[in-house]
Symmetry: C2
Subunit: 253 residues, 2 copies
Amino acid sequence: MSQTVDRALSILPLLAEGPADLGTVADRLGVHKSTALRLLRTLHEHGMVYRQSDQRYRLGARLIALAQEAMENLDIREIAHPHLVRLNERIGHTVHLAVYEEDEVLYIDKVESRYPVRMYSRIGKPVAITVAAVAKLLLADLPEPERRALAEKLDYPMYTSRSTPNAAAFLRELDKAREQGWASDLGGHEESINCVAAPVRGADGRVAAAMSVSAPNVVVTADELLTLLPLVRRTADEITGEYSGKTPAKDAP
Amino acid sequence: MSQTVDRALSILPLLAEGPADLGTVADRLGVHKSTALRLLRTLHEHGMVYRQSDQRYRLGARLIALAQEAMENLDIREIAHPHLVRLNERIGHTVHLAVYEEDEVLYIDKVESRYPVRMYSRIGKPVAITVAAVAKLLLADLPEPERRALAEKLDYPMYTSRSTPNAAAFLRELDKAREQGWASDLGGHEESINCVAAPVRGADGRVAAAMSVSAPNVVVTADELLTLLPLVRRTADEITGEYSGKTPAKDAP
DNA sequence: AATGAACGTTGCAATCAATGCAACGTCCCT
DNA sequence: AGGGACGTTGCATTGATTGCAACGTTCATT
């Protein structure tokens, strides 16, 4: 809608790939160097980009601070956190909380496993949307046309032999998740890691977030992990109770 | 420099305070509603803001994901992390890593205490710049005029009776930190929490980051915490060795 | 049920801000 | 000393951005 702002914002993901100099930015934007310079200057004034000692630009500190505040404003996170911690204390494995927003699913909270073997994931990182247990629950709740459209649009990378291979399979997964009220990922993202997940609902009954427990094969088998499912679901339901009670029916992350 | 982009970016900190509707945004920007609408639309297209079910805007998921990538690009963080973990395993207390960038100091990594009592802090959050031990080390290394200018510009909130009260006292703190090569915060931010910190240097000898160990009084006294100082300094030096060796003298966060 | 307020949205014409160009400065490498 | 690469600035032109006014909806009030 606004060309100037559009261009300026396009610089950010570009810099997220790594530091870049003025010429590179100008080329990738398809604009004159002087134009890119002025956009970068404006971004700089707002702390969104930083100029390193070698004059190249990279993403700035303000961006990180803003994102931090953004997450702190998610009330579901505040409500859920103590529950996640309690669950973690009880079972020891890694616990995640994720939300869906405009074609992306991302982790907004994480409590680390107390076992020495830890899995890689990061708060704020988009999850592997086609295989993650939490993603299945979040997408399963979308209105049918939107769900279908999204499924068609996605890529289906074969992280492992058990990854969801295509849109049809994915939609089946979603139906299953919706029916049973929980979801799992058994080695679909990383060969040796399994997850079980349960949904958190808002006052309107819609899925507002999803939580999961993940553990590597070496610690517990998939079967053992499924044993924990009732506990995971109960925790999710507790969060649902608190969240759907507290919110004035607005805010659906 | 660019009015349109400037206005658009001004919306973000505004939304960081909490969700806002169109009229509010327009008022606070001092522009017509239609103008605000178009800016918000552009931000929306880039996922920087999200429109909740009640039509109000809040910060979006892409912003969070971008910040995530920004942090992953900080090589000092990658290098330091294992050292922080190891230190934490050895002493159990909370370990932080912080960098300075354009008048802000922020935590870019954290390893949680293994004691039940935990302190509040968050990766990505700007630290209390006038009292935090890490901030003293980072600012102490700035060129004299810049340091002075910044000290004058800062606010000196009295979090506790031991907070740094004014610019003069702060500059003395910085001098002390520079001389002794480490810094502490003894109840200057929260009455019962103490920290000790040590600097990490880049290939050029400048302070590139600072790390700290924090613990509440109830777990260890300030004196006991100071006992750990040699260990903290040694860890920081190890990181310095690895970082200043590895980097091609560019990139100074 | 009707009225009115509040809010978001759209089309339009005027203006002002963004653009690309070209020239300049600086640094670095040959 | 010369050439190349890169960042920076002033300027005239153009076209994107702006505020306005009118419209559409939703929601609360009478």
